[in-house]
């Protein structure tokens, strides 16, 4: 019944021992576990915040310090107008904005109620909820320190206001991100096999004796998949609007244009994998290796600002990170070109880098 079992096992062990990929067999799960273990463990904290301080007194600066000491807010810069305050949030560079009115310290010293406004980006419902609670708790605690005030009349009234997604519906937040992740995964797989498949079938050898140019070969393989990726984008957006009822607040044409921009690095990454891998199995493994970081580190599930520094920096290397910013910016916050041009520029640079890398990496001879 099990005739040959031992022989097959021995042979397989030999294969495994001789397969260069075996060197990484144990390292891969360890690395990923460490990476994501940290990312998942962390809570919502260090959320990028801008401050519009009209008071500019000791008391107002102390309040900003208090906000920071909750560890939920991290002030990235000061703004000097309501427009800048809102723009920082629309563009996605900040998820919260604290506005302190000009008479804050005077009111406080005179024993009158001082008011502070906190603007919160509601598109990420989990983070928004925590910021909402944190800012209200802060106001409550600060009021307790002052005498003569009751729960009904607090010394410092922190008024949070949710921008976008006022009902904190999580679908609105997750679906655009999910689209980014899905497109990243699907497109990488489209091209990851493209060159390695030809290598395996022997057709590459015939191609290499022709005067074909490396750029011609690589871009020629890329473009048809760009078209496919573009159609996929259109389809998922359609499903998002019709099925999940997530409206697109911004410009649809900008969204499609920037989706096209994203496809270049996404497909380019596949080609890079294809030039490195010696067979389809290897290409598959490497693609999967890129899959999990894209899901967990791109800000799709966890806010990137809350991640430990090293992992936060790593998240900048993932094209999906920028695309998710673009998707959420346009779909949820109605962000325009001015708010998103730098994401687009990074994506284009990634695309160029991947194409150059694959052209350099691809040799027009064997061995």
């Amino acid at each position: 019944m099990f005739r040959g079992l031992w022989a097959v096992m021995r042979k397989e062990i030999l294969h495994i021992r001789r397969d260069p990929a075996t060197r990484f067999i144990f390292a891969i799960p360890l690395i990923e576990l460490l990476l994501f273990g940290y990312a998942i463990e962390i809570d919502v904290k260090n959320i990028s915040t801008v401050v519009f301080d009209l008071d500019r007194q000791m008391e107002s600066r102390a309040l900003i310090k208090e906000f920071e000491s909750t560890r939920y807010f991290r002030v990235i810069r000061e703004v000097y107008s309501d427009r800048d305050l809102e723009q920082a949030i629309v563009s996605g560079r900040a998820k919260a904005g604290i506005k302190i009115p000009p008479n804050y310290s005077r009111d406080l010293v005179n024993g009158q109620q001082a008011k502070v406004q906190v603007l919160i980006d509601g598109s990420d419902s989990t983070t928004a909820l925590r910021l909402l609670q944190a800012s209200q708790t802060l106001g409550f605690l600060k009021s307790l320190e002052r005498e003569g005030f009751t729960q009904d009349l607090m010394a410092i009234e922190v008024r949070p206001r949710l921008l976008f997604n006022p009902n904190l519906e999580s679908a609105n937040f997750f679906v655009p991100g999910l689209i980014g992740i899905l497109l990243q995964l699907v497109t990488v797989f489209l091209t990851a096999f493209s060159i390695v498949r030809e290598r395996e079938r022997g057709t590459l050898e015939q191609l290499l004796v022709t005067p074909i140019s490396k750029g011609g070969l690589i871009v020629g393989k890329l473009l048809p998949y760009c078209a496919i990726g573009f159609i996929q984008t259109g389809l998922v957006l359609l499903v998002m609007v019709l099925l999940f009822r997530v409206p697109i607040h911004g410009s649809l044409s900008l969204l499609l244009l920037l989706s096209g921009v994203f496809l270049i690095p996404a497909l380019g990454m596949g080609i890079v994998i294809s030039t490195f891998a010696s067979n389809q199995g290897e290409a598959m493994q490497v693609s999967v290796l890129f899959m999990l970081p894209s899901i967990l580190l791109s800000g799709f599930i966890f806010p990137r600002e809350s991640m430990p520094l090293v992992i936060y920096l790593l998240s900048f290397l993932i094209p999906a990170t920028y695309y998710i910013e673009i998707l959420r910016g346009i779909i949820l916050r109605g962000a325009g070109w001015l708010a998103l041009w730098d994401e687009a520029a990074v994506l284009l640079s990634f695309g160029a880098l991947f194409i150059v890398l694959s052209v350099l990496r691809f040799k027009k001879h064997l061995g």
Partner: protein, 312 residues
């Protein structure tokens, strides 16, 4: 004659393994060069280096006077290559494959149509243009591969075992085609395991254990002095029981070497042994037909003898 393919001290190492060592050769225009050698002796590696597919570890090669490493892309426009393994797209039709390769070589629409028609006729692929390659037989796949490699009218054509695994009729047809190309001025470099194919080449080379053992015209090789010891002669014996005769001859001290060659026996006999001597030796063993005549060694004799000498 104008030298078209030239190699000097061509060497390829894969790590510790020496795949090709110090191969030098010169082939002039319009020749069919037959490249022979056992599996793994380095035939394909030499071809791949000449085509610019592999970079030599040492030595250099020129095609049409162009260095195959420094001017690889220019060289590629002048050569056609048909690899050992079928390497066209199985999921494309005959015409789609031809169109793809034609456009890579920069053939524009009208020229492409003209060249495509020409190679389709040449390779006998009429009526099959719309067929998917995966449904073609082995012989037709080889014809298509050949047709693809001829689209851009290469001056030099490399064929790595073009007739391996196809039936004798298809084999004959492919060789007819090769002769026609050679007559028209194409230089051909063909590897093969078939001795009858080697006999038809205008020049042959024999590679054994990574080294080129001999290279030249078949008649020249058959007269190589190191092949035949001083005064020894080659004979062909025709008899009814060649296997039995072979056993007897191998025991006879006068015979240096004996092999079965088709229906006949090929003998290398020591100085002083002649036709009568051999007939006289074999006669008592049995009746029937018994003929003996002097011959030149076959190419197979040449290669076998050289291989044995190299081993000892």
């Amino acid at each position: 004659m104008e030298t078209v393919i030239k190699a000097e001290g061509l060497t390829k190492k894969f790590g510790e393994l020496i795949a090709v060592e110090d191969v030098s050769l010169e082939i002039s225009r319009g020749n069919i060069f037959g490249f022979l050698g056992p599996n793994g002796s380095g035939k394909s590696t030499v071809i791949r280096m000449l085509c610019g597919l592999l970079q030599p570890t040492a030595g250099r090669a020129e095609l049409d006077g162009l260095d195959v490493v420094a001017e690889a892309e220019e060289v590629k426009k002048r050569l056609g290559y048909m690899s050992q393994r079928f390497s066209l797209y199985e999921d494309l039709s005959v015409q789609e494959n031809l169109d793809f390769y034609g456009s890579i070589y920069g053939l524009r629409r009208a020229r492409l149509a003209e060249r495509r028609q020409s190679v389709v006729n040449l390779a006998g692929l009429e009526g099959r243009q719309a067929q998917l390659v995966q449904t073609l037989s082995g012989g037709f796949k080889q014809r298509l591969a050949l047709a693809c490699s001829l689209l851009h009218e290469p001056r030099i054509l490399f064929l790595d075992e073009p007739t391996a695994g196809i039936d004798p009729v298809a084999r004959r047809e492919i060789w007819d085609l090769l002769f026609r190309l050679a007559r028209e001025g194409t230089t051909l470099f063909v590897t093969t395991h078939y001795m009858d194919e080697a006999e038809r080449c205008s020049q042959v080379g024999y590679i054994y254990q990574s080294r080129l053992m001999v290279c030249g015209r078949p008649e020249e090789l058959k007269r190589l002095p190191e092949l035949t010891p001083e005064g020894a002669l080659w004979f062909e014996v025709l008899c009814d029981e060649p296997t039995q005769a072979l056993g007897l001859l191998r025991e006879w001290p006068e015979i240096i070497d004996a092999t079965i060659f088709g229906e006949a026996l090929h003998l290398l006999a020591r100085k002083g042994t002649d036709e009568e001597g051999i007939i006289g030796f074999l006669k008592p063993a049995g009746g029937g037909r018994l003929e003996c005549r002097r011959v030149l060694p076959s190419l197979e004799d040449v290669f076998v003898t050289l291989t044995r000498r190299h081993r000892s």
